[in-house]
Amino acid sequence: MISQLAIVLFDGFAFGMLLFVLSVGLSVTLGLMNFINLAHGAFGMLGGYVAVTAMRGLGWPFLAALPAAFLAAAGISVLLERTLFRRLYKSGELNQVLFTIGVVFVAAALATYAFGTVQQVIQLPAWLRGSVEVAGLRLGTYRIFIIAVALAITGLLVFGLERTRLGARIRAAVDNQRVAQGLGLDVEKIFAVTFALGSGLAGLGGALAIEIVGLDPSFGFHYLVYVLIVVSVGGLGSVAGSFFGAALLGICDVAGKYFVPEIGSFLIYLLLVAILFVRPLGLFGKR
């Protein structure tokens, strides 16, 4: 029983880390521009399909497909940001919601057109398959890999935000845009870079997710709900918030579906409403 619990906790944490990679970019961009980008999940899907194409079509190794997914999502997102999204920063949240939902619809249709509605699979390299025994528990190797990647990203993000010049600028812009602008920072440019990085991470998350949750054209919608839960529960603009929000959601989701399958999916929504009721700005939100 204890070992079962430990396995569920581990799987939940791994799923949570996947959600973290998918959503942390949205949290930062939302905190920065207050731009509600429901198309964030679609960038995850894009990354997933890029990885599938790279591996199956071009025969790239898995470890080369991951950065390709990151770069493709980052590149296309910044293109969309510069041409379309930036027109909506000043308009109301309804317009942002509708426009980005429109993007998700179009993306899903394009994915169907190119790849059909079937679930995509990829062949992991041998060293990521199977499981290893740690302290008497059999843990999936790939899940350990995901956790390691997510922790590395967290480390990089925290280090980058705290120690680098770009990080300092992003933090200043998140805290107070007007002051940042007054200090001569080019907030638009900072945002474009952040947007690209955040969407790139979503793309990487999408590629990582194929093995765990699969990939089909509804990915953008399905995981959008998870991503939004992470962001709103964790609080906007907070890396730590997204980390804990994602871990909490991942564990609750997996544990709920494992121990109480009848109400498993019900549980996370209840959690969402309850947390937002008590803390409308999320667990780590400041404004």
Binding site: I36, E93, L98, G102, V104, F105, V273, F277, L281
Partner: protein
């Protein structure tokens, strides 16, 4: 800018003109009778449109007038639909009382939910409305002993309206019933938006920060309109149950919440008839393109959404009104 109407004689008259029935409105209602005579084969579609339009008008009251962005209104539609179905399954198939009870039940849930809704804004608001909707969906899904789960609620029976008009296969009674409900809903909504309460709602939409500074209990107003809107959405759901004799889980789905917002924005928010026009265009187009793979249908909807948001933020009806004004 040119100065228009340099002196204003009578503010009463100006306000009265804003709430008067226009020629277009009357023409619209006359035209709404056409399916009875000209397009009988489309009667079932017409009643679907009337029901969805009522739902869209209920969303317009909170979203278009009070400015509360909701992605979860299907919750009330679905609650109304299931209530009406369950009342009928319990042995009471009288439609009018069933409709009223279903609407009141949805309104009660809306009233309770409104205490949470008025506490939050922005992303949290969108997420809470969405969360409620998903929650209700999962609840209905897991309570299959009551709701029939994914199979839906079968064997709903509805008695003749007023004991006279039997629901017929061609859909005459269904359309008449749905159209009458839409008409009543619109008359009521008109009354609301042209009242002092309606003015307060627009004030909330335009600048919620100013409202307390003029002594407004705006949260109370929001709770009131949210409840009214929930009743109306519940009635729309009940109409769907009573005219189709089944209830399916997708009455509660996120897709329905999103679709109705799309229709509303397409037609134009904050003008009641925008909701109706948007619904007609959306549903007729979907019917005409029903052979299309739903994925491709959403491609066009998505593209349309992007275009409407970027190029005609006031919706189709709003843009037409603007054109008409420019030509004056």
């Amino acid at each position: 800018m040119t100065v228009e109407a340099p002196t204003l004689a009578d503010p009463h008259d100006w306000l009265r003109r804003r709430s008067r029935w226009s020629v277009f409105e009357i023409a619209f209602w006359v035209a709404s009778l056409l399916p009875f005579f000209l397009f009988q084969t489309y009667l079932p579609l017409a009643s679907q449109i009337a029901i969805t339009a009522l739902f869209a008008v209920s969303v317009d009251l909170v979203l278009g007038y009070a400015g509360v962005v909701t992605l979860g209104h299907a919750m009330f539609f679905g609650l109304g639909a299931y209530s009406a179905g369950l009342i009928s399954k319990a042995g009471w198939g009288e439609p009018l009382t069933g409709l009223i009870i279903a609407g009141l039940f949805a309104g009660l849930v809306g009233y309770i939910a409104s205490f949470i809704i008025v506490r939050v804004q922005h992303l949290a608001l969108i997420m809470i409305t969405l969360g409620f909707c998903l929650l209700t969906y999962e609840l209905a899904n897991s309570m299959s002993w009551l709701t029939g789960g994914t199979d839906g609620l079968q064997g709903v029976e509805t008695w003749p309206i007023l004991g006279v008009f039997r629901f017929d296969l061609w859909g005459y009674a269904a359309y008449g019933y749905a159209l009458a409900a839409l008409f009543l809903g619109l008359v009521l909504s008109r009354r609301i938006v042209h009242s002092s309460f309606g003015l307060s709602l627009r004030g909330i939409r335009e600048n919620v920060r100013r409202m307390p500074a003029i002594g407004s209990d705006y949260r109370g107003h929001l709770q009131k309109i949210y409840t009214i809107s929930a009743v109306m959405a519940g009635c729309a759901g009940a109409l769907l149950t009573q005219t189709t004799d089944t209830v399916s889980l997708d009455t509660l789905s996120f897709q329905r919440s999103a679709d109705v917002v799309v229709m509303l924005v397409l037609g134009g928010t904050g003008r009641l008839y925008g909701a109706v026009v948007g619904t007609i265009i959306f549903m007729v187009a979907r019917d005409q393109l029903s052979d299309m793979n739903p994925q491709y249908w959403y491609f066009w909807i998505g593209l349309l959404l992007m275009v409407v948001v970027l190029l005609m933020p006031r919706g189709i009806l709003g843009s037409l009104a603007q054109l008409a004004r420019r030509r004056d």
